[in-house]
C-alpha cells in the first residue's frame, strides 16, 4: 500500500519560501502530475517525498507511516531524474541490476529480472553498452528500467522527458502511461509541460509560487479553472483572456474592453460593475462569415492546420483573439475581412482583479 499524504508541507531556503503549507493525499495506484512554471516548488516537493530535502515543517506519510526521518533508500520509492543520472562507468546491465545488488539479490535472479525489465522497456539490445553510447531516449529507458527492477511502491519522475525532442517525448509519454497501466503503481510525475500533464494524469496538481492552485482531473482543470493562472496555463492554443470591465446596460450585464463588447449570461446580473477579465477557449468562439453574432472583428491571420483552422483577430489588445474552427471550411477567409463571432455563453469565465474566478 502506498497512499502518500503530504500534510502542511513547508520548505524554506533562508528567506525564500519554496513550498508553502502544501497538503495533498495521493491514492494508491494513482497517477498524479505536479505541474507549474519553473520555480513553483514542484521539484522541491518531489525531492522532499524522495527524502533528498528535509521539509522545514509538515509531515510526509507513506502508507500511513511518517517518513520524514527515513533515509531515501528506506522509503520504498523509485525515482527517475531529469538528467537520467545513469552511472557512466557501468554498463546498461550493471546500471539496471544496481538496485538488486544493493538488496543482495542472488546473481542468477538478478540476471533474470534485468532481462525481464529490459524486455519490458525494449532495451534488451543495449545491455552490454555503456551509457555514453546510448541516445537520450535510450538513456531514459535505461533509467526507467533501473527503477522498475527494484519494484518500488511509488515512482517519482522528475521532468523525465524534458531533455528529449518532441517525437521521443510523445513516445516515452505513451510508455509511462503503459507502464502505469501494467504495474498499477503510484506515479508522481513532475513537469512544466501542460500537455504532458493533461495526457498522463489521473489527477493534476497545478502549482504556483509554492502552493497548489488547483487539484483535479485533467477535464476539471481544463474546463473549470479556478483562476486566471490555471486558465492561462492549460490548453493549446491557450484560452483567450481579455482585460476589460463588467457593466450593466439595457438591463443586462455586458463585458466591455477596448475592442469588444459582449453580452454576458444573466447569471452575472447580480455582479457589481468593475474590472474583470473575460476568458473563453478558442474552440468556444464561433466564427461565421458575414455580420451579426456577439461581435464583429477583422481577421488578422489564418492558420490552416489541416484538421482545424486557427483564426486570429484584432480585438484592440496586444494578444490576438484566437478561434478554432473544425476542418478547412474557413481557411479561405481573407486577412482583414470582418466576420461575426459568437461566444458560447455557458463557456465564458470571468476572473476578478485578484486572479480568482468569479463564481455565482
Amino acid at each position: 500500500m502506498a497512499r502518500i499524504e503530504l500534510d502542511r508541507l513547508h520548505k524554506t531556503y533562508g528567506p525564500v519560501i519554496a513550498v508553502k503549507d502544501l497538503s495533498i493525499a495521493i491514492e494508491d495506484g494513482e497517477f498524479v502530475v505536479f505541474v507549474g512554471p519553473s520555480g513553483c516548488g514542484k521539484t522541491t516537493t518531489l525531492r522532499m517525498i524522495a527524502g533528498f530535502e528535509d521539509p522545514t515543517s509538515g509531515e510526509i506519510r507513506i502508507g500511513g507511516q511518517i517518513v520524514n526521518d527515513l533515509e531515501p533508500r528506506d522509503r520504498g520509492l523509485g525515482m527517475v531524474f531529469q538528467s537520467h543520472a545513469l552511472f557512466p562507468h557501468k554498463t546498461v546491465a550493471q546500471n539496471i541490476e544496481f538496485g538488486l545488488r544493493m538488496k543482495r539479490v542472488p546473481a542468477a535472479e538478478r540476471a533474470r529480472r534485468v532481462g525481464e525489465v529490459a524486455a519490458m522497456v525494449r532495451i534488451a539490445h543495449l545491455l552490454d553498452k555503456m551509457p555514453a553510447q546510448c541516445s537520450g531516449g535510450e538513456s531514459q529507458r535505461v533509467a526507467l528500467a533501473r527503477t522498475l527492477v527494484t519494484n518500488p511502491s511509488t515512482f517519482l519522475l522528475d521532468e523525465p522527458l524534458s531533455s528529449l525532442d518532441a517525437k521521443l517525448r510523445r513516445e516515452l509519454r505513451a510508455e509511462c502511461d503503459r507502464l502505469h497501466e501494467e504495474l498499477k503503481r503510484t506515479f508522481i510525475f513532475v513537469t512544466h509541460d501542460q500537455e504532458e500533464a493533461m495526457t498522463l494524469a489521473d489527477r493534476i496538481a497545478v502549482m504556483r509560487a509554492g502552493e497548489i492552485e488547483q487539484v483535479g482531473s485533467p477535464m476539471e482543470i481544463y474546463s473549470n479553472p479556478v483562476s486566471y493562472f490555471v486558465a492561462d496555463f492549460f490548453g493549446s492554443p491557450s484560452m483567450n483572456l481579455i482585460a476589460g470591465a463588467l457593466v450593466h446596460e439595457d438591463g443586462g450585464p455586458r463585458f466591455r474592453s477596448a475592442g469588444l463588447s459582449v453580452r454576458l449570461p444573466d447569471i452575472y446580473t447580480t455582479l457589481r460593475p468593475g474590472p474583470v477579465t473575460l476568458g473563453i477557449r478558442p474552440e468556444h468562439v464561433g466564427v461565421r462569415p458575414g455580420v451579426g453574432g456577439d461581435v464583429e472583428l477583422p481577421v488578422r491571420l489564418i492558420e490552416p492546420l489541416g484538421k482545424d483552422t486557427l483564426l486570429y483577430f484584432n480585438d484592440g489588445t496586444d494578444r490576438a483573439l484566437v478561434a478554432v474552427s473544425e476542418g478547412l471550411a474557413l481557411a479561405g477567409l481573407k486577412s482583414g475581412e470582418r466576420v461575426a463571432l459568437t461566444f458560447a455563453p455557458n463557456r465564458i469565465f470571468l476572473f476578478g482583479p485578484d486572479g480568482k474566478r468569479i463564481r455565482l
Binding site: 524522495a50 531515501p72 522509503r75 525515482m79 531524474f81 545513469l86 557512466p88 533501473r146 527494484t150
Partner: protein, 291 residues
Amino acid sequence: MTKSRRGLVTTIFRYVVLTLWAVVAFFPIYWIIATSFKIDTQWFAWPPVYFPDPPTLANYLNVWLGAEQYAQTQYAISSQKPLISLMNSAIIATTSTFLAVTFGSVIAYGVSRYRILSDVRMFQLLMLRMIPPIVVVAPLSLYYSALGLLDSMLGLILIYFLTTLPYAVWMTKSFIDEVPREVEQAAEILGASRWRTVFEIVLPLIRSGLVATFLFILILTWSEYLLALIITKTQVTTLPVELSKYQGSTEGRVYGRQAALAVGITIPLMIVGLVIRKHLARGFSFGMVRR
C-alpha cells in the same frame, strides 16, 4: 601571393619559431643528460663539448653504486649514499602524497557535498600555500626540535602532507564537483548506503582526477628541497638534498656526478607519468563525467 601560398608561409614560419623555442627549452635537459656521460675533463671544457667523447658510465657507477674504481680521486665524495636517499625519497614522497590525496579527497567530498568549509575557508586554505616556505622554516625547526621530529622520516612526511593538503583538497574538489549529485542520489534511492555510494559511484568516476592529483603532489614532494635541507641532517637525506652536495665549497663543482644523479632523480617520475598517462590526459581535461 595566393591564399594557400600565404598559409604555407605562415605554417613554415610557425614551425621555425616553435622549433627554435623547443631547442632553447630542451637544451638544459639535453645538457644534463650529455654531461652525465662525459669524462671529467669535458665537464667544464671550453669550447664546450656537446657530445660526450668517449661516452662513459663512470659517473653513474660512481654516484649510484659508489664504485671506487671509477672514481677519479679528486672528485670522489665518500660520504654519499644516493641509493639510501632514493629509498628515503621514495618512501617519504609516496607516503605523504598518499596521505594528502586520501585526506584531501575526504575533505573535498565534505566541502563539495556538505559545504563543511565555506568559500572563505577554502580560499584561506589555499592562502596557506602562498606563504613562502622560508618564512616558516625557523619556527618549524624549533617545533620539530621540541617534538623530536628533526631528522626523521615522520617529520618530513608530516610536513609534506600538511603543506600539500590544500592542493589536494582544491584539485580533488574540482573533480568531485563534476560528479552530478543526481547520480549519487540515484544510487541512494536504489538502496546504496552513503559509503557504498562513495566507493562504488564517486570514486570510480573521479579515479583519473585522483591519479592526476597524486602525480602532481608527488612531483612537488619528490623535488622539495628547502624543508628537507633544514629539518634533516644526516639520518634522512632525500635526493634533492643529496644532489646539492655535489656543489659545495669543499667538493667544488662535480658536474658529471651531479648530472648522473639528476638524471636518476628524474627518471622515476617520468616512468610514473608514462604508466598513468591515460589517466593524466583524462584527469587534466576534467571531462570524465558525461552530463
